[in-house]
């Protein structure tokens, strides 16, 4: 029941993001959307994920989007009426996905296939093999260490990408008075 009402709030937030033209409000609502998601993860026992979503989704990404708005424009200019082509595409895709869920194991089903392979091994053996109480940490850092190395490399690469795209220029250019059309990278 809690989850259904939270999901309802999330849907309401998402729909208002769809309609609002003021981008500042849209960005703030996306922070609220993330916070609702964090509460849902908490209710569904994913404490680590809830923690991350609250810190990252509601915190950092909202700050970054506000920073972008300060550098660009905070109002959406053209606001089309309902676009029927995309709407039809979205409805068809959604319908197919819903059809695909019909034979899925129900929510909370302990016999679902997802619980029967490696997950049960992690739960039963990680205490003996790794000796760390938090199973998520032992899977993240030990069993799936390669994955996490890759993810860390992705974060590294993304930050390097940001530095390359809008990183700082050298000061020399300003002293010589050359006009910069913004076409160079630092």
């Amino acid at each position: 029941m809690i989850i259904i009402s939270l999901l309802f709030f999330m849907t309401a937030t998402a729909i208002s993001m769809l309609w609002l033209r003021d981008l500042f409000a849209v960005v703030m609502l996306s922070g609220i959307y993330s916070l609702f998601a964090a509460v849902i993860y908490m209710v569904m026992d994913a404490v680590d994920v809830a923690f991350t979503e609250a810190a990252v989704g509601a915190g950092i990404s909202t700050v970054l989007m506000l920073g972008t708005l300060a550098l660009t424009k905070s109002k959406e200019k053209v606001h089309k009426k309902i676009a029927y082509g995309p709407l039809a595409l979205v409805l068809i895709t959604g319908g197919i996905l819903v059809y695909g869920t019909l034979d899925m194991p129900h929510y909370g089903d302990a016999n679902a296939p997802i619980h029967s392979h490696v997950a049960s091994r992690y739960i039963e053996k990680s205490g003996l093999e790794v000796g760390v109480p938090n199973i998520v940490t032992s899977v993240l850092a030990s069993y799936r260490g390669y994955d996490t190395l890759g993810e860390t490399a992705v974060v590294f690469t993304a930050a390097i990408g940001v530095l390359v795209i809008i990183g700082r220029r050298k000061k020399k250019r300003k002293k010589t008075g050359a006009v910069n059309d913004g076409g160079d990278i630092a």
């Binding site: 989704g57 972008t68 550098l71 709407l87 869920t101 909370g108 997950a119 993810e151 913004g182």
Partner: protein, 126 residues
């Protein structure tokens, strides 16, 4: 029927959220809004994954002698890293938007296309 409804409603709402995000991405012209739409889509996928990992009567996957049933830790690990990677790639997209705004003076897709067309026409391209 009621059983099916209560068992699958989480997935359906997650799909509805995905589709709202999808619609924003393909139908709206503002680039920042497209990124917000992508975020909506992304979080909906996360909710879907975490829903699948929940076990009825289970608790958070932190080992303790007094607990018998744990929820599945595997989706948690996948989504945990996906969230952080998601914000890093969002930052990259926002950086591109800042750069586009600097070059074109707008973040509306239609106006960018218009400027490109004018440029193409002046260079004699079709």
């Amino acid at each position: 029927m009621a059983d099916t409804f209560s068992g699958l409603i989480n997935y359906w709402v997650a799909i509805a959220l995905m589709m709202i995000g999808f619609y924003i991405v393909i139908a709206q012209g503002n680039l920042v809004k497209k990124i917000v739409g992508l975020n909506i889509f992304q979080v909906a996928v996360f909710v879907f994954y975490i829903s699948m990992g929940k076990v009825k009567g289970g608790t958070a996957p932190i080992l303790d002698d007094s607990i018998e049933v744990y929820s599945n830790p595997l989706p948690h690990v996948l989504i945990l890293t996906a969230i952080v990677v998601g914000v890093a790639t969002t930052a990259l997209a926002l950086a591109l938007i800042v750069r586009i705004n600097r070059a074109y003076g707008t973040i509306e897709e239609s106006e960018i296309n218009e400027q490109d067309n004018v440029l193409d026409a002046s260079e004699g391209k079709p």
